[in-house]
Point group: C2
Chain length 229, copies 2
């Protein structure tokens, strides 16, 4: 339990005494956040009580309140931990790669690698997107904006370098839909591992934005068909 004191310390800044204690702390915090994620996933944020969280994490109710203050702060830490981890991994992956298609493939792979092994986390992030208030909410929103901005830049870079013509906002949001929706259906025995899934989704998405062209004609036909029905 002692290693958890760093949670309080994070609000009253103090240096970690050693790298080892930071690691022990990270592990313990990660363990608690994992169990809290399970509870939020199963009961929803509204439906979960601090008592449920105490039971699942193995911490006393008093301990939970002392170290985390509230259910909201736990949700905040889950979101912050997740988005920060993904963002750092992504930046490391992109560092030495310049080809714009490969960079988008790495974005997809990084996102799927994290969430294929953490579907509950993805569900909680999607469903409790608006549960945080004010200060906590805006800190998370900032990290998410950075993640979105990186993805948008990857698209704009590809469009510019290849002289393509597609709507980058629709492309980014379509991609987020493809890779976030997996928490509702992904099954490793049927769908393979993250790398295999990233390849298939990358193929659909990248071919989709790099080989386009025949949209206008189809739109006319489709809206005619639609108004006839």
């Amino acid at each position: 339990m002692t290693s958890l004191s760093a949670t309080r310390a994070s609000r009253r800044p103090r240096k970690m005494s050693s790298r080892a204690s930071a690691t022990r702390f990270d592990r313990r915090l990660g363990h608690i956040l994992d169990h809290a994620t399970e509870v939020f996933c199963e009961k929803g944020y509204e439906g979960a009580s601090m008592r449920d969280l105490s039971r699942a994490t193995g911490m006393s109710l008093a301990g939970l309140y002392y170290y985390f203050e509230s259910k909201e702060r736990l949700l905040f830490l889950i979101q912050k931990h997740t988005f920060t981890t993904i963002l750092e991994k992504l930046k490391a992956l992109l560092e030495n790669v310049t080809d714009p298609e490969q960079r988008i493939r790495l974005f997809i792979l990084n996102h799927l690698q994290y969430f294929v092994s953490n579907q509950q986390g993805l569900k909680v992030l999607s469903h409790e997107d608006e549960s945080l208030k004010n200060g906590l909410s805006s800190e998370i929103a900032g990290i998410k904006r950075e993640y979105y901005r990186i993805c948008l830049e990857l698209m704009e870079d590809l469009r510019r370098k290849r002289g393509l013509d597609f709507n980058t906002r629709t492309a980014v949001m379509s991609l987020f839909g493809m890779i976030n929706w997996i928490y509702t259906w992904y099954n490793p025995r049927v769908d393979g591992n993250a790398e295999a899934l990233a390849e298939r989704m990358g193929n659909i998405f990248l071919t989709g934005i790099t080989s386009g062209g025949s949209g206008r004609k189809n739109r006319k036909q489709v809206s005619e068909l639609s108004s006839r029905a």
Copy 2:
């Protein structure tokens, strides 16, 4: 309030006395379900009380319990009403169209047309996917399976007729992700109407599955890059 008696009647089957009363009833039911959807969207299913639902729908608490029995039954009716409507519209649209690409474009258009004007409904359907129990849950699951099966058949039809090679399950689930995720981001002023969005998403998706091919080479490169980081 009188027209609502048909809700009870739906469990003790009785013929509607006239087409006019059915229409009045449908309108009143639709109105109540719309307001209940707003409440579920805002507070979540767990967080919403029958008292909240009474306030939002303008029905007395006693009336709500009398006609709908429970919060769960209201959620069930929202889900059933939504999926049945979408499915019927889709079948009507597909009836006279044989071209496999056009049929997939109609699937996308129909889904977006419904949910672009009903984003709250889409959010409630996504978030409260597992809130129904037993009998109610399995009736909804049946309608959803039919919707999924139609989409899968559209993909298999395209693959067969064009001699293409892609994973139809990944394709269907990627498409569902693209078109369901819109409840988190769609903004009519920025993204245009359902027809414009369906055209852009249809272009990305259909080009993606019909023009593919270079996956294998990219996979090797990407996993090498990923393991280097």
